[in-house]
Symmetry: C2
DNA sequence: GTACAAAGTTAAGCTTGCTTAACAATTAAG
DNA sequence: CTTAATTGTTAAGCAAGCTTAACTTTGTAC
């Protein structure tokens, strides 16, 4: 039974180890969790002893199959709670992440399954992230492109948003963008890497900071 | 901001200090929380420093107005969660207490108010306990009698159950008793203090252990 | 390759919330 | 009242999870 702290470490390691290198560096995790890097080294040893992590000094941290299973379990809880809070209690897109960040550690398997069932075993959370299934499998993710890397004149649908940045989400709300919003790329501005898009018949400009955190899918005409 | 541990102490102190003496003894709290009594003495000092508790060595612990406010806040959370889990997710009478025992510490005021609103600002939880209001007031409690102290031939309605004893609740479920069940007292057996009641046209016997944990209200004919 | 900067680790120490063991106060019995 | 049992407190110590500071390894620039 991992503690709360360990659950958070596992989630953080997971979120970096699945990227390019498949191994999370001390500093990335430290930064992600806002904890000193010495604490990370320390914890890496403990998790390693418990068989949740593979750790070689100075060489980064990687989840073992058991560690990944544990991480997916927490991520499942997080995302089910997020969806539940929105669907049932009417919380806002930008409000659920922080609540879920706590609730994920304090709900029994039994309760989580009830929530899953209540929601109809959903595949995606409110930010477009896949919800791991009870058995640890992950719903298939559609072909996804960073909005900063799209091509001019194509049409795209917004399908994923970084949920850790509530300011980003508030910005999107202000602009009117939601999941499944349709965007047509009008121009890619070389100077500042911003993108000009047609959205609901209006032309808006999105900065690199924004487009680097939004994922879209090409819409076939 | 009390920690989780402190929140539990405050709840425990509250539950004893509101009884007869208005002051909770070290050993009762220790027993209640399954924690050594030396830890209680220790914590009493800390809570006292924070102004949540009045503590005189060897003389017991009493909540200050601030401490009571804090305790009621947690109790409110607990009871709202219990009702919510039953009403919305279909959990059972006997299942909600343990879940609520954790969730009560990890929900924002905002979320709790949403739940309260969703449930229609209910006055009582699934075990018949009053749910403190946001402003700290407590819904008026009907005139309540211990089932072990009722009089023969009268009719009573079951209106409160000790929620900490899930075995008791399972027993009640087996027998078919719920909140608002109507009971007619047939006989009080002097020998073992059990009570014989008429319930749904059947005669059942309830032991002292059971009747000491059930509260009823006299039904006027 | 050397030298220095950046990243990572180890060491020492702190806080919270517990434990057990030794000691002190209170209470109950006679 | 005195004494013994009960109850409560203090002291010492431990584990978890952090911190900062000192040290080590690794990577980069020349
Ligand atoms: Mn989230
Ligand atoms: Mn999400
Ligand atoms: Mn309860
Ligand atoms: Mn209850």
């Amino acid at each position: 039974m991992p503690t709360i702290s360990k659950e958070n470490y596992l989630k953080a390691i997971f979120s970096y180890s699945t990227e390019l290198e498949n191994n999370a560096s001390t500093s990335r995790i430290a930064n992600h969790l806002s904890i000193s890097s010495s604490a990370i080294s320390d914890m890496a040893k403990k998790l390693s002893k418990e068989g949740l992590v593979k750790y070689k000094k100075y060489k980064g941290i990687m989840l073992t199959p058991n560690g990944e299973k544990a991480a997916l379990k927490i991520i499942r809880r997080h995302r089910l709670w997020e969806l539940f809070l929105i669907n049932v209690l009417g919380l806002d897109w930008s409000e659920v992440h922080d609540e879920a960040e706590k609730l994920e550690h304090y709900s029994s398997d039994f309760l989580i399954d009830k929530i899953d069932e209540f929601l109809g075993n959903p595949d995606f959370d409110p930010h477009g992230h896949p919800i791991p299934k009870k058995n640890g499998s992950i719903p298939e993710i559609p072909n996804v492109i960073l909005l900063s890397e799209v091509e001019t004149n194509n049409k795209y649908e917004l399908i994923r948003v970084n949920d850790r940045d509530s300011e980003l989400i508030n910005y999107l709300k202000k602009v009117g963008l939601k999941l499944s919003s349709k965007l047509e790329i009008v121009d890619k501005v070389n100077y500042d890497n911003s993108i000009s898009v047609m959205f609901k018949k209006k032309n808006i400009t999105l900065s690199k900071k924004v487009t680097d955190n939004l994922f879209v899918r090409l819409i076939e005409e």
